[in-house]
């Protein structure tokens, strides 16, 4: 299991969010989530310019086993998507917190939305409790 980087925030549904210096939010699914899904074979990304709402589904990742919705951690506008993923979805398995990022959001209400997210310790505790 990959170590959880300290600058990430998490949703209970296993998405991660990283606030970048310029104020945008990069999002992906956690290393724990990719482990549960197994080998990823398909990614459906939102389009740049889409408006997304925190807690709503805005992408889909599919492994051999199952399809899973990906929820937006914060509300805002999609300003970038990881174009390399549709051809190499296994990147999420290999590097969930790095090259496996899914999309970038320009947030509307960052301060407010962020309060709903878990810090790395709280997320680690959550997945620990799910395992038992």
């Amino acid at each position: 299991m990959q170590e959880i980087p300290g600058d990430l925030k998490f949703m209970k549904s296993h998405e991660w969010a990283r606030v970048e210096d310029k104020g945008t939010v990069t999002c992906g699914i956690s290393d724990h989530a990719q482990g549960l899904l197994g080998d990823l074979v398909y990614v459906e990304l939102p389009s740049v310019g889409d408006t997304v709402k925190a807690g709503n589904a805005c992408a889909v990742v599919e492994s051999v086993k199952a399809a899973s919705d990906v929820y937006a951690p914060v509300s805002g506008e999609i300003v970038a998507v990881n174009e390399a993923l549709p051809d190499k979805p296994e990147t999420i398995n290999e590097d969930a917190y790095g090259d496996g990022w899914l999309f970038v959001i320009k947030p509307d209400n960052l301060a407010e939305d962020q309060e709903e997210l878990l810090d790395p310790d709280a997320y680690a505790e959550l997945i620990e409790s799910e395992d038992h």
Binding site: G35, G38, D39, V41, Y42, E44, V60, E62, V64, K65, A67, P86, N93
Partner: protein, 361 residues
Amino acid sequence: MTQKTILNDTHRALGAKMVDFGGWDMPISYGSQIEEHHAVRRDAGMFDVSHMTVVDLHGARCREFLRHLLANSVDKLKASGKALYSCMLNEQGGVIDDLIVYFLAEDFFRVVVNASTRDKDLAWIEKQAAAFDVKVSERPDFAMIAVQGPHARDKVLGLLTPEARAKVAKIGKFVAAEGDGLFIARTGYTGEDGFEIIVPEKDAVSLWNRLMDAGVAPCGLGARDTLRLEAGMNLYGQDMDESVSPWEANLGWTVALDEGRAFIGRGVLETQKAAADHRVMVGLVMDDKGVLRHGQRVATPQGDGEILSGSFSPTLGKSIAFARVPAGAAGILHADIRGKLVPVRVVKYPFVRDGKPCEGV
């Protein structure tokens, strides 16, 4: 309560991801499901299938009983050790289960049925057996390991004593032989050559470890599912059940309408066959990105159908599926994936044979 096979601790020690499978705690994969799939297509892999149910039938009227019980004809079994795949039907022609029956002696046949249908299968077999004085004995004292792949047979043969090896090396496809205390059948559920080995529980862990030492890769039920789908093999519960007849599950090749044999469900099957308007099961390939899944709607000019088994094919690098559609649906159909209609091609299956994509797929 969740049941465990004798190999449960072995799977966990190997770091397997475990899931509930029909009440059994089973490994879905030990790492990458796709790599396990390729190991079987290219070399050799093994599966713990000890959750499957072995049932021994004893009695002078065994063959007569099986003529009545099964839609395929046990009269095809003439030499000891020979195996037959068959459906077991209810009175309405619906599939109670699919199974393999081995002919060992006129008064001794062995049947292997699915794990998820164990209770209803045993109840049905016992109920039908009473009239034939056939004794039905489940064999929970056995474990089962399937070793599959182009190099599977050689790796198994290398572990046998010279006497057993000489015997087992000779058996043809769909034949079983006994040696070294093992019941070794040249059968499988992957589309590759190999063996399914019925082994006394007390010897199962050591056999598993010896196979590992011989270079056989442990593989989980995830890989088993994509392998059998590529090979065009049905999964009970997903591709057929008691509401579906063999004609509707593309299992007509396993139904023997031989003269004068009154097997259970025969009347309904004959009526359906004559009417020829029943739904049919077809193979689908999707060239677009995405994955076909069980339960998705399939739109055809003849009306709606549905995806049965659907998954990603590691050998083809795209999604494949079985679908049940109205008679006459062919060519390009459309699968409803999250509200989007995606084109899918109807193809003849198996999708993959001997490690290679089949023509037209």
